[in-house]
Assembly symmetry: C2
Homo-oligomer: 180 residues x 2
């Protein structure tokens, strides 16, 4: 148990290489052959460990998804005002931390409904908007969604010209302006 079983080694290597390639070239521009070559195995081996290319993506997004879900669960149990505060800071932190993968997220959103493995993320997006909004006012929720898209776009495009700290401050400031 202390030692990684052999059966998991290849799978992990595939996932790690996929993270690098997806962050670098994007999901669609990365082929199964690219992943296989980087991981030192064949295309068929990738599809043995993951049932499809979308399944590789889902696996790559598993950790950030879980962290987002945990944040939402935690914030849900706070009083409304604190919940909004916690959600803003936590979401910006997640966005900055996983900015390489946000690139991928944005890329895939248009067809996200056709990737069953990513349904959980869609649902999380709805919960996130409601918590950010801090109320059930439709306009406030729309502002929250505007903020989410702004953040995804900002982290994607500018992840090279700003430090993590600058990006975090910018996103928090913009989100507050939208939700006040």
């Amino acid at each position: 148990m202390a030692v990684t079983p052999l059966r998991e080694r290849t799978r992990r290597e595939i996932e790690q290489q996929a993270i690098v390639l997806f962050s670098d070239k994007g999901y669609l521009a990365t082929s199964l052959q690219d992943i296989a070559t980087a991981a030192g195995c064949s295309k068929a081996t990738v599809l043995y460990h993951f049932t499809s290319k979308a399944a590789v993506l889902a696996s790559v997004l598993e950790q950030p998804s879980a962290l987002l879900a945990a944040l939402l669960d935690e914030a849900s149990q706070l009083p409304p005002a604190e919940a909004q505060e916690r959600t803003i800071n936590g979401f910006v932190d997640l966005g900055v931390q996983f900015r390489g993968l946000l690139n991928v997220l944005n890329e895939v959103i248009p067809s996200v409904l056709e990737i069953p493995e990513l349904e959980g993320l869609v649902a999380a997006g709805d919960r996130l908007a409601r918590l950010l909004a801090g109320s059930d006012d439709p306009e406030q929720i729309a502002m929250a969604e505007f903020a989410i898209h702004g953040l995804l776009g900002a982290c994607r495009v500018e992840h090279l010209q700003y430090t993590e700290e600058q990006l975090r401050n910018l996103c928090v400031k913009a989100t507050r302006r939208l939700l006040t």
Copy 2:
């Protein structure tokens, strides 16, 4: 001249069907075969009129691109304060009018640098951010970019639940909050 030449009929039909398909399923999920079938011709005919799939996209985006460029040219010649005002309203109008295609734009952005036909749009994005910002302050420009991404996302995701008027008001309000 009053009558549409035959040579243009097929081309127009292809473009119209491409707009519908791109708006509905997205660019990447639409194949040349889909376009050809919808237009009532063969794949090769599509590629006779347009040199590649990317060229079809470029043609589809030609009108909104031209309108955006015209808006930026017009706003550039106004004094700073009016320029910002004009750019906000004009850009929101364009976003709402072509919201079906914004879907496509978002989808293609990650790899936009690899589609030569779309270089003009990238440059326009930079000009747009500077005009929206109304100054050369980097933070203000970052806010403008945040607003652009928010708008693209909002128009894309919510283009079914809101009327054009509601969407326009929402986007103007959000953009003002970010840029004030």
